[in-house]
Every structure is written in structure tokens, then in C-alpha cells.
Symmetry: D3
Subunit: 223 residues, 6 copies
């Protein structure tokens, strides 16, 4: 009953690279405010933004066997998305796996559980987002699933969806929405450029966004 | 029923600057151990200490409209204190608002909710203390209150109270207590200088604080 | 009824130094996956690994009196392990205590509660693992115990046990197991060296660990 | 610096009784959705609704001395509102205090901390809302404040405010708003009576609240 | 972009009734230990077991508009499964909605957020599982989705999946697996009947499950 | 390396029965406020008090194998104390195990993890304290330890220690302290009887405990 899907569809490389440039907050807004993982999903490093196609892993609690399967199926630029099917903060991923992932060109790891060997991971520059840091070891006893739909830190992830991750957290863009979301993200960034300049020069957002009349209409007053 | 108070009283600039120099732990002790926000209120940066007069914001959950109102009412050196009136970890504040806040000389933000665009906020050097990092977007639909008493991460904050924030967290000094608290904080620091020197030279706090006889009196023994 | 034990047995200095070199994740595995503290025990600094003999402190909630007792009983290289006997995130330890600890050659602090004066602690390079950062002050009213068995963040710690702490967290090695655990840790590191090289060169862990046949035997399939 | 205010103003008895009849959810709505305590504030019993004037207690963590002061100052029908000034889940209140509170006609207890002797409290029918159940004992060492503004489980409570508590939680009605809030609560209940009847008879809220056109206007479709 | 799917496929009524008889723990085991919601999903009542086809609701945080849409689309015996797309503990569901749901024959509610009017819900006997109890009001401002895949308290739920809920929590059975899972659940119950009798008569599970030799083979000893 | 100790020493039956009569809060006070488990350890039933000798179980996360070993080693009146050596909320214990435990006269279960089949457990009247309710299944793959010192929900438990549990939580009395603690508990109850009567008759604790002068001495005033 357990299995891996070898073939997944991916979004185009340029689209993925474009989404990385836009960043999590912008992409999340452009998607109509969906797809964001919970705020407990945090990076172990600072100042790194990645995007890539999701290789999804549905793992038994405290068992990292399926990550080994995923490492073989991933292509350069992919992102591993690991979700135990019952909550666990064991350390599923450490320096040896990171060596392998980096050797195979994997862009990073998003895991709704723990990682370990933090110092090594940071030294290697392998990008990780996790919900815990914990040295607790895992076993290879119970198979799970690779490249099936998973829920990870509150977001549904299908294999091949685009994962965008930065210091703000992680957002998932369904593969078939990747192009329109990129377009909307870029439009948003452009629209913000003028506002940013105006605000930097001391303009008030109350004027810029025309908020005064709407406020008054809702009965808001100044004293 | 919703409104903003335009005018608030502030402590003197020299007092505020003095409190910043003393730091959170000392000020909290000097106040008789009151006014500290919960330990879930954490800085997004390291090594930054600020103090300023509180512009308080009571916001609807997931709605950042009132921060725009506050940005206009704040004066250089003020600190925004934002508390949703029901818990939320949405990202109320990001890079555009930080541009505006910085342009207007605002000293920093303390928010019992989430912030986003972390990388930009850190790059700009805009000081933030928050209870979450989250890209989740907010709306401008429901007015709230600006410059009314709020409770933020467990502390009551009145507009014009002095906010002191550093790597240890955030403490609130009621405006009318600012001068005596500063005096007591400075006395405390002075009193600690000698002790620090003695401890650095290897003295034992058991002797320095004369703890041995009190311990024995409470029946404590060595084996 | 409250007391301190002056004399504790310690593991050998070379053993302790060896365990520090191995790091938390390796030592934890070598011990058969026991002794790890909970993932809420986090360092306040990055890139620091320590090991030392535990001076254990069982303290009243919000009361740091016993740490002063421990500072006198500790020897150079020891690690303070502090556990309130009821949960507390008060700031039991700050810059003055760190001055004293550093002057006496103490290797670091592990505390299931809060610390404060974070900026000073980091500047001084005094290594700390804690479950909270909080300026809340403590008192010296209620004696407790020093050098008795304690439970700290989920691990049982006996005085003289070896504490190993790094970016991954904290693991406790019972004193009488220190030598065999060091031997097993080193064996583990050696065994990993070849694997690391192979993985870095692009080998698959599926082959290296011979996982394919075991997977098939469990009914796992590829699609 | 610590003190109790003997005199507080109270809302009228009929108003208070009326608010109890309306219940927490209705009163909270009638107030414009303010004043609700956090969802971690839970009753220890089922099916009990109370309302009364708040006697507020600002207590040291793990110290219940001020509750004894409050027991003397309370009048029949009052509600004790206890908030430690730093988080604590110690058991501040047990059967002996409940005997005294009940003898003096106090309507109930709302506490942002722990209670104990649960079985006795339930047997006596003394109504309690707390954020923890914990036998941990408290001391009488550090004075605090009685009848000052406190923040309790996320709500600001002034002495004399009306506390309304039922199975849904606790809401605070500022004393001077008690009459208009009661009027609005009653209007709300009346308005709901017809709707309740219609819904019970199988009417759809989509029709009753006229939601179809507004939904379509926002671009919502059926497939 | 927001919409509701009117038509969903459902499992057979006999299958659904059969799954209710088996209960959550058995069904979860029969499914190979998948599909269980997190342990924070708790019933507001005791001793009630339900099963039904999922009408899924993906709602904006603090906005219950989509539940009104779902109430119209649900058929007798269905279960509402509500998941805000960002975490919220607001009270999405209260007595009026329960009147409507009960009038329309809906079997119960599973919600990854708050409910209110607890006393009324219990009195009416309308079965609810939620992650919070909270009176906080919701609005009808932002459309969402009805009958799309959602993630609810850690489980992925597709419209038409069978929801089984009892005192142990909630498990989701994918519609197409409902029949085989029922068969396996029943087989499991039958297999347990003999064991139950033997254990009640004092047999040891060590003998019944033949655990002694396996234990010894793993090096486990008695002292 | 894994093993069970067959023989443990127990306190006398009369002592154990006496401690049960005193209840958790009293025993905890009589012990000098030690030994209490965390407030997250909660009963699944109401109005039940038990006491018994601890059979301790140190189990692998998600693995209930050792409970089967413990069931054989326990004697009538004993209490199972189960602590996974890494946090887990899986459902380690359900109706079949309860049948066996009840058949063998075991007094109850205290577990720092989850239980399941709640309805059956309550129906059978088998007393349970746990930190979670969760149907998640466990395996029998990894041996652990039975009758060794464990830490359970923040308390250290040695085999043979007396476990006292009621609606307030769980407290552990070291076996060798059981008799003096019982004596002190009884003295405490006697001392409280008079106070209870006085308070019931309307006396003030301020007078009864002579709190006024001590308060004044600490500078507390009335306004």
C-alpha cells in the first residue's frame, strides 16, 4: 500500500526563479492569501530565499526512511517537503543527508518536524525550514509515501507544486497557478515601487491609500 | 464608537534616553518588578535597545488599518505598540510601513502579533519586537482605537507610557513614574558596579551578599 | 530538609573533552537514544559546543538562591544545570552571575527557565542553554537543593553526569557510562567518514545503506 | 507602594442580573466585540452562568496573599478577578478560600492561574473560571494590589466592571457601559427569536440573512 | 475565484453507519494508521459517536460566511468540516447555526477553530468537535470555498470523505476506501473479541501476543 | 541494555490508603511542595482519587511494548507510570489493556502521553491520568525499561514510590518518605478543620491567619 510516484510535473524553471525573486509575502498576497504554512515553520538560517518544485514525503513519526527514497527521485532545484503523518519533533535530517542533498543539487528542505547537526547545515549553506531543532534520532522501519499530496504545517502540498521560502516562512503555489501568480506578484511589486518612494519621502499612507473618507464613513473620529 | 486620541502626554526626552541606557532588566527591577511583557515577545534583531513614548493601537484581528492612523499621530522617537483585540499572528507590519515609520522618525514597533518582510526590516535597521513572524496578509475593514489603554503581551500600556525594549524583551514604564524609575535604575547600576568588579576578581556572591547565615537560619545544610 | 552535597564524582577530563568533540547528535545516538533534553531547550548563541560535569540545582520557582550556592561548589569546567521544581520562566541568571561563573571557570549554564541580560551574556561569550529569555526578577527566599538528582527539560540529571550541549540542544551522559559512550561515539564518527565522502561524491543512500531490498520486502512499490 | 482600594463603584444589581441572563456570547457581540478573555480561560463546571462586580487582584507569582485582602473587601454578589503579574499556574485558590468566599456571598472566581481542590469546589457549587488546574501551593510573602486595573487572560479589568462568565468563557463590561450594553444585548436576543424559529422550521440562513446577492457581488460562484 | 461545488459523491449509508459503530481508534488502525486529526481536536460532549460524509468549508479567519453556504448544500447525515485558511480560535458556530443544522438533519460539526453557545449546543444534543471554545464573534465579509480539499487539524479532507468522530477524536476515511476500511475494521473487532475475553479472565498479553521470545531476541532481560 | 526489574519495594498498604484519603493538594503541601506533576497531566474522569505503588515504564516514543511487560510485573493496587523517553501523544493504552489491568487489580494509569478508547475506559471505571487523548496507534518494536527511575510530566518517579492522583493532578511520594508524609498530611487536615468551620461561619482569613500586622509591616496600605 505504500509507494512512491517517480514522475511528477514541474513548473517552468523561469517561473520558479521568478517566484523566488518575489518572496513569500508578495507571492502569498498575489495568490489571494492562501497556501501559507503556519508561523511555527521557521528557517534555521537568515537572509536566504529559495523556490523549487516540491518532492513530497509522507513519513511515519520518527522514521526518515522515505527521505532516502526522495533523495533519489529529486532533480536539481527541487525542494524536499517532509511531513510525518503524526506529529513528531524528532531530528529527521542531519549532516549526512545534507551532503547527499547538496551533491544532487536539491535547493532545500521544508519539514514539519525536527532537524539536527545545525552547525554543519549552516556551515554547508544548505537551506532548511523546520518546526523544531532536535537531535532525537530516527529509524528506518516503516515505509510511507513519496510524491503524494501531504499536509505540511497547515498547507496542502501536491508533488510538483512550487515551494517559496524565505525569512518570513513558506508558501505553496499550486503548479498550475504558478504562471498567473508570478504575473500578479510582479504587478504587485511594480505597484509598490511608487508607494515605497513616496512613503520614504514622508508621505502618509492615510493619504496615499485614501483612507480618511472610508474611516469617517465607518464612524471613526478624532478627539 | 471607534476613535483616535490626537494628543498624548509624553515623558521628557532626557528621561526616555536615560531609560534606554539602563536596559529592560534594570528598569523592570527598579519599578518593583512590574510592567514586563510576556517572554513570547521577542526581538527580530540582536543588540538593539530602544526607548520611546507609546502610541497605542487596539486593532481588529487580522486588520492593520489603525496602524496607518497611528503612523500619522506619532512623533519622532515614539514607539508603536500594537495589540489586536483578539489573538492573531497575521503579519500586520511589513517593509512599506517600515519605510513610512522610519521616514517619520519612529523608534520602533512592539506588536502582540506577527510581522513580515523580515529581511527588509533587518536590512533597514528598523527595530521590531513581535510575538510571531508570519506573512499572512491583513485587511483594512474594521476600525479600532488609537491612543487608548491596551493590553499587549500581558502588560497594560497607556498612551505616552515609556516603552523600553532590548534583547531581553519589553518593559512598560507608566509616564508619571518615568523620572523616579530612572533615578532608581541608575542607583541600581551604580550599586552593581562594585559587585561586578569583585565577582570578576573571583569573589563569591555567597560572601558578597552575605547569604551564609540566612541560609543556615532557614535550616539549609551542607553534606 | 534542604541541603547541598559538596562532593560529587566526575568523569575524567579527557573523556569530557572527547564528548564535546563528538557533539550532541552523535553522543545521543551512541547512548542508544536516551538522555536528550526537550527541543524547547535552546542556546542563546550559535556555534558553541561545551561539555562538563553537572552541578545540579533544584530551585524554588522564581528563586535563584541555590545558584549562588552552586557557584561556590562548582570547579573549573563544570556546567550548571538548573531546574525549578515548578515551571517558571523568570530570569534566574544574568550578567553578574555570569561574571562570577566565568571568573570561576564554569563552562556554561543549562536552565529549564529564563535568563536575562542576553546582550551581556553574548558579549562575554558565556555559553547558555535555556527554555526562555525573560527579564523577570527572582528572589532569594526559599532554599532548595544542590547536587541532587533533578529533572531538567525532560532529562534526569545526576550530579557529576556529563552535560554535552551544542546548537542541536543538550544531552546528558550518566557519569559511569561516559567512557563507553565516548568510545561508541568515536566509532560512529569514523564509520560515517566514508559514507560522507561517498554521499558528497553523489552516491545514493538507497545504495549505500542497502535500502532497496528491505523496502521491497515491506511491500513498497514505485509507480 | 502596594495597597488596596476599599471603595469601588458598582453597576446596578438589576443591570448585573440582566447581563447574566444574556450570557457571554451575546454580551460580547453587544459590546462591539471587545472585552472577551482568551479561550484558555475555562470553567471548572458546566452549565453555570454568573455576573458580578469585579474585585480585582494583582498578585505576585505563586503568592495568594492579596486574595485574602480581597475576600474582606468584596460584597455579596461580587466576582474575584485574580491576575498574577507574571505568569503562574500555581494553585492560588482551594477549598478553604471557597468556604470563605461562599460564606460572604461572593458569586465566583475568575483567575489567570491555577486552582486546586477541584472536587470540593465542584461539590460546593462555587463557580470558578481558571487557566489551569494545579495543586502547586502558594505563599503569603509579597504584597500586591487590590482594586486596581489589571489585565487578566487578555482583557483589561477595572474594579467595579461587570464580569459575565458562562460555559463560553468570560467577558468584561466596563461599569459605565453596563446599561447600554444590557439594552443592546436584549435587543439582540429579541431579534434572534424570530430567526431561531425560522431556522428551526428549516429556513436557510442564506435567505434569512439575504446572503445570495452579496456573495455573487463578490464573485462567488457555484459549480 | 471563490466558489462552492454543489455535487459531491458520498459513500453508501450502510458503510457510513458501519464505520460509526467501529469507532475512531479501530477505523484509524484499519486504515493503516492514517487520517487522524491532531489531539487538539476535542468533543464538546461525552459518549457520542457520529459518522457522515464531509461537506468541507475553507473559511477566511474570523469569517463564517461559508458555513451558511454549506448549510444549504449539506444533506441529512452529512458532517460539516470547517477549516479557516489561517489559524483562528474565533467562535464560528453557535446556537442559531446549530438550530439550522439540526433542522436539516446534519449529523455534526468538526471545526479547526472555536465554537460558542456551548450550553445550548449541549442541550440540543448537536454533536461538535472543535479546537477551541470561544465567544469571539465572526463576520461575513470574505468568501471562501465549499466542497474543496481542505486540511483540518492536520488531516486532509476531500468533500465526500467519511468523517468518523467520537470521544477519542476524529478520523477521515477517503470515500473510495470506505468499504475496505469497514471490512478491515470489522475483522479487527472480531479478532479482538477473543483477546478481550482472555484478558478479562486474567491472561497476560505477554503470552497472548507471544511477546517473550521477540523481547529476548532484542536483548531484553529481567533482573 | 534494556531490562525490567522484577522486584521493587513498596510502602505499606495502610500508608498508601491513608495517602489516598488525604488527596493530592494536601500531600503535596505536606511534602514541602515537591513531587507534583505538571498541570498538563489531567484525569479522563471526575471524582476519583487513587494511590498505589509505582510500576515505572520508560517507553520508546510511539511504542507500548513495555506496558505489556509492566502488566505482568504489577501487583494488585499498583499504579502504572508510563513516560516515553521522547515526547509523544500517541495512544499507548486502550480498552484491551484496561481489561487486563483491571483483571489484575491495577489501580490506575498515569501516562505522559496519549490514551484512547476513552468511552470504554470511562465505562469500565478504570482510572487514568494522561497528557493527551489520541487514537494514534503504537507499535511493539523497540524495548525500553520497566521499574527504573523515570521522569514523568516533570516529576522524578522511582519504582515503588507512592503515586497519589485525583482531580487536581498527580503527586509522587518517595517510598521512604511515605509514612512521615502521611503523618504530616493528617496533621494538616486536622489543623484545617477548625479553620474551615470558622470560615464557613463568616470569619475572615485576614483575622484567622493574623495577616494584618504582617501586611502593614511590609508597607501595604488601604485607601
Amino acid at each position: 500500500m505504500t509507494y512512491a510516484n517517480r514522475q511528477i510535473d514541474r513548473a517552468g524553471a523561469a517561473t520558479i526563479a521568478g517566484l523566488a525573486e518575489c518572496g513569500v509575502a508578495t507571492v502569498h498576497e498575489a495568490m489571494g492569501r492562501r497556501g501559507l504554512m503556519s508561523s511555527k515553520m521557521r528557517p534555521i538560517q537568515q537572509d536566504q530565499t529559495i523556490a523549487g518544485s516540491a518532492i513530497t514525503v509522507s513519513a511515519a513519526p520518527g522514521d526518515n526512511w522515505m527521505i532516502h527514497v526522495a533523495l533519489e527521485l529529486a532533480q536539481p532545484g527541487d525542494v524536499l517537503v517532509v511531513a510525518p503523518f503524526s506529529p513528531s519533533d524528532a531530528g529527521y535530517f542531519g549532516d549526512l543527508m545534507a551532503e547527499s542533498a547538496q551533491a544532487r543539487g536539491i535547493a532545500g528542505l521544508v519539514i514539519d518536524a525536527g532537524v539536527r547537526d545545525l552547525r554543519d547545515l549552516r556551515r554547508m549553506g544548505f537551506a532548511v525550514w523546520s518546526t523544531a531543532v532536535c537531535a532525537w534520532g530516527t529509524v528506518k522501519e516503516t515505509p510511507g509515501w513519496v510524491n503524494v499530496p501531504v499536509q505540511c504545517a497547515g498547507a496542502i502540498v501536491n508533488p510538483g507544486d512550487v515551494v517559496v521560502a524565505d525569512d518570513d516562512g513558506v508558501v505553496i503555489v499550486p503548479r498550475e497557478m504558478a504562471d498567473p501568480v508570478l504575473a500578479q506578484s510582479r504587478a504587485r511589486i511594480e505597484a509598490e515601487a511608487d508607494k515605497r518612494r513616496a512613503l520614504r519621502d514622508g508621505a502618509l499612507s492615510m493619504d496615499l491609500y485614501d483612507l480618511r473618507s472610508r474611516l469617517a464613513a465607518k464612524g471613526f473620529t478624532y478627539r
